[in-house]
């Protein structure tokens, strides 16, 4: 994994600065911007999870929309059938549902690699999409299911309080907190002996087997962690969006997840985070700018893969390396 060539103390310092900046953001910009960033942070959690499989284990899934959607729909159904509306419950439900589905799908998928793995993940996510689409009575079909603003740690949105401000402050901090925890946790995971084993599997499956790492089992665990992260993201996304529809289960949304991970750079730890946030702004801008925003994003993607395959953070890393090698001024 290409690391940003800076000493750990500087990296930690940088990370703290960024978190502080993110924390004071709602006091500096208008609520719309903060909410927009919330979306970005949620997608960053999904991207972190996705990249555990792609960047660290070498498996390209085109079906991660399944776990995002499972998280979102699990929350929506908790609201619909159990009338529960606390974000804490949403988080727990989202994690559990996504973990169960990724354990099941992962068990099936990790027996394959490369293109068959990709197609199988795609097919399984389409199964879920078609179920959500057709079973109108349960899932609301293409209308989807509404999810009201949840209570956070017991505090509810006051009647008459502006939803946008509520989201931009309390919900944002909640998401930020979870994002920081998720990032720290994933950082530990990829730097753990388990994480090294995953990278070994990515680099050389046969040799990994021959140093005693049971490849299929480790891939399954990676799949499970990856899907759970993405499901948590889905659970956090749906109260922001207010609504969940089958679109987020469709394989083209999986493609988006792949897109923003690669945009940021799937060969680095921070790449997916940066990519998700940047993509969120890019898409919002594009949608507002032209009706042909899909084509615009397509052009960005093709250019990205042609000219900048290591993504934004890959390029940043390379530039930093060059600066270090240049003679001191």
């Amino acid at each position: 994994m290409s690391a940003i060539p800076l000493p750990p103390s500087r990296l930690l310092g940088g990370a703290v600065l960024i978190v502080v900046a993110l924390a004071i953001l709602p006091w500096v910009v208008e609520p719309y911007q903060t909410t927009l960033l919330s979306y970005g942070l949620v997608m960053a959690i999904a991207a972190l999870g996705f990249n555990l499989l792609l960047g660290y284990t070498g498996l390209l899934s085109f079906g991660h929309s399944a776990y995002f959607g499972v998280g979102a729909y699990a929350v929506a159904m908790t609201v619909k059938y159990f009338k529960v509306t606390s974000l804490e419950a949403f988080v727990v439900v989202g994690i559990m549902a996504a973990a169960a589905i990724s354990a099941l799908f992962g068990f099936v998928c990790v027996r394959y690699t490369r293109i068959f793995f990709g197609i199988l993940t795609m097919a399984l996510s389409q199964v879920l999409w078609s179920l959500a689409f057709k079973f109108y009575n349960v899932t609301g079909g293409s209308d989807g299911l509404r999810v009201p603003t949840p209570s956070l740690l017991g505090t509810h949105i006051a009647p008459g309080e502006d939803k946008m401000t509520y989201l931009a402050h309390r919900y944002y901090y909640y998401v930020l907190g979870i994002f920081v925890v998720c990032t720290a946790l994933m950082w530990v995971i990829v730097h753990s002996p388990f994480g090294k084993a995953l990278q070994a599997i990515r680099d050389n499956e046969t040799r990994a087997e021959f140093v005693g790492v049971q490849v299929r089992h480790y891939r399954w665990v990676a799949f499970l962690v990856s899907g759970t992260y993405t499901g948590l993201a889905g659970a956090l996304w749906v109260p922001l969006n207010g609504l969940t529809t089958p679109d987020i289960l469709h394989w083209t949304f999986s493609g988006e997840i792949v897109f923003f991970t690669v945009l940021g750079g799937f060969g680095t730890f921070t790449g997916p985070i940066v990519g998700a946030i940047v993509f969120n702004y890019l898409k919002t801008f594009a949608v507002g700018y032209t009706v042909y925003w899909q084509g615009f994003l397509g052009v960005v993607l093709v250019t990205l893969v042609l000219a900048l395959p290591t993504g934004i953070m890959g390029m940043v890393g390379r530039l930093l390396q060059k600066r270090q090698k240049a003679p001191a001024a």
Partner: protein, 251 residues
């Protein structure tokens, strides 16, 4: 004491008798060479014993335990390890991480998700020690993919060695390396093997290497064992010289 014993071990690929009813044994502490022209079955034999390929018939016993159809994982746990002819490393990990992985796996620590690998001083020290034995310590922080061919061959062996096996198979440890590098590499390998008293089976094509370093030589031809003895015995064996020696000088 006999460490490994194969009995009538057989593997056919269609009509090709890759391994043909082979009775092969290795005693503890031996360093032996496995020679034969290309296609003789040496690598297939090692692949079967190490668990990459399942034999058609016959048996393999290791330390009195039946391991004929055991998985790769089980064979490693029993104490068998191997290096590869075409270097098989984790190219995007550093040299020390490559070796550390073997150690983590050996100690069952690869199951741990929530501890930092670099924080495990014991493993890091052991990995450094292994690298030093193989003369690779200066390159500890270099990515495996960026090392020279000779260094990669040594690292490949080091990764297998770090599993602390009882029986180590080395598949052409000097192939693909320039002639003047071969001796230093073999010196290091045999030094480690002897000082740690590891039993080693070395597949080799280079007869100079074989005669210099290996007190026992097993010659294979068309899937079967042709001869088995000391360098002198092998040199004077007409069948062996007819089939292999004299023309066999490729790297």
């Amino acid at each position: 004491m006999t460490l490994l014993q194969t009995t009538q071990l057989t593997k056919y690929f269609g009509d090709t008798h890759a391994v043909d009813h082979v009775d092969f044994s290795v005693r503890e502490g031996e360093v032996l060479a496995l020679i034969g022209s290309n296609g003789a079955g040496k690598t297939t034999l090692v692949n079967v014993i190490s668990g990459l390929i399942v034999p058609d018939s016959g048996s393999i016993r290791f330390l009195e335990a039946e391991i004929t159809r055991a998985s790769i994982h089980e064979k490693i746990a029993a104490g068998i390890a191997r290096s590869f002819q075409l270097v098989n490393l984790f190219d995007k990990l550093t040299a020390i991480d490559n070796v550390a992985l073997s150690i983590f796996a050996r100690q069952g620590k690869t199951r741990r998700l929530f501890t930092l690998a670099d924080a495990d001083a014991a493993v890091r020290n052991e990995a450094s020690g292994v690298l030093e034995q193989f003369g690779l310590l200066p390159k500890a922080a270099a990515l495996a993919g960026g090392l020279s061919q000779g260094e990669r061959k040594l690292l490949d062996v080091a990764v297998a060695y770090a599993l602390r096996p009882k029986l180590l198979f080395l598949d052409e440890p000097t192939s693909g390396v320039s002639t003047r590098e071969k001796a230093p590499i073999m010196d290091i390998i045999t030094q480690v093997v002897r000082s740690e008293r590891i039993t080693a089976v070395i597949i080799e094509h280079d007869m100079d290497v074989v005669f210099t370093y290996c007190p026992r030589i097993v010659a294979m031809h068309q899937g079967a064992i042709l001869a088995d003895g000391t360098p002198d015995e092998i040199r004077s064996n007409e069948q062996v010289t007819a089939n292999m020696l004299g023309t066999d000088r490729h790297a």
